[in-house]
């Protein structure tokens, strides 16, 4: 294998221990070296394209890779960033499907590609490799799930801020010009936001902590209206 003009086998790879190939023995690593090729990618260069057919498994030796998907409106949605030691394109390869996203180097990177047939045969025969692949998939799945949760939580935060703005517009402020001129129960606020009472309580507490509001008994003081408007993200 040639890396930056230097022949390097997988057994000498500096990031091997961070990759799914960490459990392979010397013999297996030597065999792996025989079934891969490596190439240097410049920043911005495409590694694989959405809808392309997978011909092998990509393994990042150095650099950073952006995995993204293009929406119908042409807007790019970044799925995740990969770093040295990560493998790319395994989902399409294992599912025998086309790539559902594109991979682009965000900095100069060195990437190896392992032959599709060899990789699939290896996973069938080598339990350690299979286990490492499952571990990698589980970790990526967790990242994706965390992302979904953070998106929905962001959304409910926005809705809470929006609800407070609606309440302010309807009932106005008390004498101090900050306290909402109405006393609403947590259940009623939750109902406006479209969430559970528990979540509403937690969000109000978060807003209180972030100094957006101040909870004074059952009353709510809007101490930072600008921040509240920003949190509501109304122009999105």
């Amino acid at each position: 294998m040639r890396l930056d003009g230097v022949h390097v086998g997988c057994e000498q790879c500096k990031v091997r221990m961070q990759s799914v190939f960490n459990a392979l023995n010397t013999e297996e690593l030597q065999e792996l070296t025989q079934h891969k090729s490596c190439a240097q990618y410049k920043k911005g260069q495409v590694i694989f394209n959405e809808q392309g057919l997978p011909l092998g498994l990509f393994c990042v030796n150095s650099g950073k890779i952006k995995l993204s998907k293009t929406g119908f409106d042409g807007k790019e949605q970044i799925l995740r960033l990969s770093k040295a030691g990560d493998v790319l394109g395994y989902r399409a390869l294992l599912a025998n499907e086309r790539y559902h996203c594109s991979a682009v180097a965000v900095e100069d990177s060195m990437i190896c590609v392992i032959d599709k047939g060899y990789f699939l045969d290896s996973t069938k025969q080598n339990n350690k490799l299979l286990f490492e692949m499952v571990r990698k998939m589980s970790s990526d799945l967790k990242t994706a799930e965390d992302h979904i949760v953070s998106l929905s939580q962001k959304n409910v935060r926005e809705r809470m801020a929006e609800a407070l703005l609606f309440i302010k517009a309807t009932y106005g402020f008390a004498e101090d010009g900050q306290t909402l001129n109405v006393v609403l129960s947590r259940e009623e606020i939750a109902d406006f936001v479209g969430t559970s009472t528990e979540t509403a309580i937690r969000l109000l507490s978060e807003f209180n902590h972030d100094k957006i509001i101040e909870l004074v008994g059952k009353k709510i003081k809007l101490v930072n209206l600008d921040k509240l408007i920003k949190t509501a993200n109304l122009n999105d």
């Binding site: 119908f72 309440i167 309807t170 009932y171 001129n181 006393v183 009623e188 109304l234």
Partner: protein, 201 residues
């Protein structure tokens, strides 16, 4: 026929001319028309949209193809935005507007809702709905015809025609009142602090 004209008719038939004058002076002359527009949204359009949303929701699991996930995401946000808009209007905006129109019935100095602010907040929600509708329509048009795409197209059509038209009527009515009607010119000065013990929603 609206309550206002019904009350007036009853009062006139009963020969209660004094009551007629009281009813007339208590209500803004525009309030009657406002209730009609509210009803056209709240009683006619929104339940129809809700029905169409339910139909799409039922057919979504049968959607297949490259836009399956994107449709599900946009539709979820669309539905959430619509339910939120309808909820706020039903519980806060419509009663607030009617209250401002009828403010003469309330004791002097009673705090009044800020209709302009409420209108601005709902306008943003309505705009978001339109963006989503355009997006969903493009997805539906790009897919093979099915029960799901048909339901989606019908929903988008309703939003991009009836919804746009009626909201425009509503906004125009509010804008016109804000420019010309005494109710709006006066209520801003009535914002004096009095805490509602517990607002009835």
């Amino acid at each position: 026929m609206s309550c206002f004209w019904l009350l007036l008719l009853i009062a006139r038939l009963a020969g209660l001319w004094y009551s007629c004058i009281v009813i007339y002076t208590l209500m803004c002359k525009h309030a009657d028309n406002t209730q009609q527009i509210i009803d056209s949204l709240n009683i006619e359009l929104y339940p129809r949209l809700q029905q169409q949303l339910d139909t799409v929701l039922r057919s979504l699991p049968h959607v297949e193809g490259p836009y399956q996930l994107a449709i599900a995401e946009v539709f979820a946000d669309f539905r959430q935005t619509f339910l939120s808009l309808a909820g706020y209007e039903n519980r806060l905006v419509f009663p607030s507007v009617l209250r401002v129109f009828n403010h003469k019935k309330e004791p002097k100095g009673t705090p009044m809702p800020n209709v302009a602010e409420l209108q601005n907040l709902t306008k943003l929600k309505a705009q978001k709905l339109l963006v989503h509708a355009v997006q969903l329509e493009r997805y539906a048009d790009a897919m093979e015809h099915s029960e799901a795409t048909e339901a989606l197209q019908l929903l988008c059509h309703t939003v991009l025609t009836d919804f746009v038209q009626r909201r425009q009527d509503w906004n125009n009515m509010i804008d016109e009142r804000m420019r010309s009607c005494n109710c709006f010119l006066q209520f801003q000065q009535l914002l004096t602090p009095t805490t509602h013990r517990h607002a009835s929603l």
